[in-house]
Subunit: 231 residues, 2 copies
Amino acid sequence: MRIQRIPLATIARLPVYVQGLKSLAETGTRLISSQRLAAATGVEAPQIRRDLSHLGAFGTPGVGYDVNGLLHEISHCLGLSRTWRVALAGYGRLGSALAAYPGFLERNFRIAAIFDNNPALVGMRVGHLEVMHSARIPSMVKELDIEIGIVATTGSSAQEVADQFVASGVTSLLNFAPVTLTLPDRVVVRNIDLAAEMQILSFHETMRHAPPVPYMVKPAVQHHVSRWLRE
Amino acid sequence: MRIQRIPLATIARLPVYVQGLKSLAETGTRLISSQRLAAATGVEAPQIRRDLSHLGAFGTPGVGYDVNGLLHEISHCLGLSRTWRVALAGYGRLGSALAAYPGFLERNFRIAAIFDNNPALVGMRVGHLEVMHSARIPSMVKELDIEIGIVATTGSSAQEVADQFVASGVTSLLNFAPVTLTLPDRVVVRNIDLAAEMQILSFHETMRHAPPVPYMVKPAVQHHVSRWLRE
DNA sequence: GAATGTGAAAAGCTTCACAGCC
DNA sequence: GGCTGTGAAGCTTTTCACATTC
């Protein structure tokens, strides 16, 4: 890793590289050029080289990058060489889908506790866990030393649950509730708002069908930065 | 709406304003300053004014913005004044959670068809819909004149389903599968990758616990652009 | 007095183009 | 010949500061 500032935008692309490199590794590819990684990830090749240079990455001029070495380097930078303890609040439809998502554990995120404020759900067994009442967030989060919280409650409970998480020592939150959480600056929040993404698509469709004039002129991009219409 | 380019970044924030304004409207607020909308959404006040000025927005100097008027203006710009026809592919845990999500219909996104390639799910009733086999995507998408597709399948089926959607006339996709979809440039793709978001949080936690040096220095931001550590 | 809308400056990010290396 | 890593250029986005309007 490097002794320098890594841009926000670069960090957001690293998981894309991880995913691309993993699938390449599975096909037995051991060496890859930025050009070919670009084809696999949809990120432009010079962008990839710049991103990797921020990690102090070690490609070989004239040859390319070692797939496994690069995977290891990026994973390390993202903090994936250790397991993270995660708490999930909200065991409704979305919450239960998240709890069952194999991709979390595969990537070293272990759901260590599940909370809901609906008494009908409390006590329900989920794998080797049991849904607990949200009132137990403070004690359990501290006891289990949870670092990351997932908020999958309704909008109306989200702020309260987030506050409890933060008061109990959680410093990173993934929020699925369609509300703006107000939290201390030290807490890192990532929002995933399904409806917002749909609205962005709806904007694009609208422009497509009735482009009032020259609109949007950015070329293709990927992953959380959508592609843009030309003219 | 305006006769000028609206920045990508602005579009991505508009849904945040919509959400904030709606909850303010519910509390009976009729007039709001950029300063107060900033407090409600986590976006800085000058940023809000700049964004709204791109829509040709009509605040009143010395007074502020009319909540309902602004809501209407932004909704119109995002294309929310009409209903969009959406198809969902993949009725597993995530897919069924999405199908039941009330936030879609509330915001004028109507799920008009559901597909899955698992025969055990085909025929299942979901509200007034029925899960259809993915092989029927081409005919049904055309018949129902679907504009937006949601890919909630496994990674291994995602590209195939996306190709079918696109071949049938879908021009916007929301992709939950953790793969990079390769599609024609005219198609707009938004990716929601849960694992990627977790990895970004993991990066922040890592920096927090072992900051090798001066790292990341951006101030607070919101919604899909996380807050950053200071020093 | 209070708040908008916007030039102008600053910051941040991407792309180009190429020197240097294999 | 092929590919990386990076200065420099170009572009987009954010922030500042203030003239203008109510």
